[in-house]
């Protein structure tokens, strides 16, 4: 059983991340270059970080980047790692992690649908939640919900009251 400091040492020695820190008790955050990420995932998995909670995507529009966050947990250390990497927003292509965790296929499918990130090696990226979606992926920051509604739907008057935006 490692504590947070020992874990950071292990990570610093083997993965050489640009940034790693203890966020709070039992929570560690590691930023890593995108080309090292898949290797880092399999390294951590073989060091008891077997539980992949989920993969999150954050759209940093101003910086032109997507941030992918892999949340791992160890049943030996009881520590949560948020492994982060940034990829360019255009073209928004990254590697799949489904060789390491088969379940990642569905998390990536979700991110592909809502952010438009392409995962090379994942051949199951078709629509899952939306239907015949022709517009910008909706969770992107430049997708304006209100504009979308105004462009595609009509406001209705309610009980004789005119709609005001």
């Amino acid at each position: 059983m490692r504590n947070e400091k020992e874990l950071l040492e292990l990570i610093n020695v083997h993965l050489d991340p640009p940034a790693a820190e203890i966020k709070r008790k039992q929570n560690v955050s590691v930023s890593i270059k995108q080309e090292n990420l898949i290797q880092a995932l399999s390294f951590l998995k073989s060091h008891s970080y077997q539980h992949l909670s989920t993969i999150s995507c954050v759209d940093w529009l101003d910086e032109g980047e997507f941030e992918l966050v892999y949340h791992l947990f160890s049943y030996d250390d009881y520590i949560n790692i948020s492994l982060k990497t940034r990829i360019k927003r255009e073209p928004g292509v990254f590697q799949t992690a489904k060789e390491i965790w088969p379940v990642a296929e569905f998390y990536e499918r979700d991110i592909h649908e809502f952010f438009g990130v392409e995962f090379k090696g994942n051949d199951n990226l078709e629509e899952m939640i939306l239907e015949n979606w022709q517009h910008l992926p909706p969770m992107r920051k430049d997708f304006d919900t209100r504009k979308f509604v105004n462009d595609n739907y009509e406001w209705r008057d309610y009980n004789g009251q005119k709609h005001t935006d």
């Binding site: 929570n27 999150s56 009881y78 629509e127 909706p138």
Partner: protein, 369 residues
């Protein structure tokens, strides 16, 4: 696979055997499922996008809607994420009250889903009893929070208001009633019922390795003899102050998971009694200033708690403005409802598909959010 002997069927999204507006498309041969695919998307409401457009406090009224069966866990993780990023301390009394609310919520969720599971094998009496028993707990919630299902009670910095001593007495009375009257009835009619045993034993097995590999937690993992529970592993609220056991099973089947639900409720009663006995005095809310102008520094946090179906987490990002920059919901049943259906449903007999879906606690709004 010979296509001519295969039949494709749409199980749901409108079917009494599926848990919510969610479908499973499967192929079968004889009466055995040969291939299955989740059919999600009937329920999408864009919670995550909506949260980015609302100020922090407004989202406390939105998040409980993500899961009908267990709304309180959403309020709790949302508040925890806010407090983790903002480094906000919560008064100890509020921690205790949060734990009491979460345990009450766990009991109502379990009793409701045991009813649902029983309905899946045709034991409708149990379903009605489950709904009734849940209603007693909803009465308590109504007294504490003013609302029955969506309480909007746990919020950043603490809880909305204090609980009166009379209400604590009522909770204790109800716990006695559950333990001495309701649960023994349930034991006789359901758990000692050979029909129920036959329908659940050895069905819908998920092994320990499979569960860990796909990220399934809670009763699914614990049914394989591993007592992994976030209340013990990463204590939050007041769980480090109470003693309880984590129920486990041996076979990883539906029967074990339902027995874990029953044992979990008994542990919850034990926890509630301890909490009420030693709850400290003091305030229940940290002063965070004007509710319409909550601001926390730039940062991010992944927070998670143990819902009745396992790990329930939020990844929250703040850019220092009045609204969250990003909130990502990780539901307890996400891996099972999408990946698990495809991988582990085949091989099940048609009549056991509801047993499979319900005993694994699949809650569609968590992935269709």
């Amino acid at each position: 696979m010979d296509k001519s002997t295969q039949t494709e069927i749409f199980f749901g999204p409108n079917h009494p055997g599926v848990p919510g507006n969610y479908g499973i498309n499967y192929n079968f041969e004889g009466d055995t499922v040969t291939a299955a695919e989740a059919n999600a998307g009937h329920l999408h409401r864009g919670f995550e996008k909506l949260m980015e457009e609302r100020i922090w406090i407004k989202n406390t009224a939105l998040v409980p809607r993500i899961c009908v069966e267990e709304p309180d866990i959403n309020e709790m993780v949302y508040a925890m994420g806010f407090e983790a990023i903002g480094e906000i301390e919560v008064p100890r009394r509020a921690d205790y009250i949060r734990s009491i609310i979460l345990e009450l919520a766990r009991i109502q969720g379990h009793i409701f889903s045991i009813g649902g599971n029983a309905a899946g094998i045709g034991q409708y009496t149990i379903m009605n009893w489950g709904t009734l028993t849940r209603d007693y707990i909803l009465d308590i919630f109504e007294e504490i929070t003013g609302a029955r299902v969506y309480h909007i009670y746990i919020r950043p910095g603490g809880v909305r208001q204090d609980i009166e001593a009379e209400t604590f007495a009522k909770i204790l009375d109800l716990m006695n009633e559950l333990e001495n009257e309701r649960f023994p009835d349930l034991e006789k009619t359901l758990f000692e019922n050979p029909n129920a045993q036959k329908r659940w034993q050895g069905k819908a097995v998920i092994t320990k390795e499979e569960a860990i590999e796909m990220g399934a937690t809670g009763p699914v993992l614990r049914a394989n003899g591993v007592p992994h529970d976030l209340r013990k592993m990463m204590p939050y609220a007041a769980y480090d102050d109470v003693e309880f056991e984590v129920p486990t099973g041996d076979n990883g089947d539906a029967w074990d998971r339902i027995k874990i639900a029953r044992d979990d409720m008994l542990q919850s009663i034990k926890i509630i009694r301890q909490l009420i006995n030693k709850i400290p005095d003091g305030p229940v809310q940290t002063d965070l200033g004007n509710g319409l102008k909550y601001r926390i520094p730039k940062g991010d946090a992944y927070v998670k708690i143990e819902s009745k179906r396992g790990e329930y987490g939020y990844y929250m990002v703040s850019d220092g403005s009045l609204k969250p920059y990003r909130v990502h919901v990780r539901g307890a049943s996400t891996p099972l409802g999408l990946y698990g259906v495809r991988e582990y449903l085949p091989g099940t007999r048609i009549a056991d598909v509801p047993v499979w879906a319900k005993s694994l606690g699949i809650c569609p709004p968590e992935f269709d959010r």
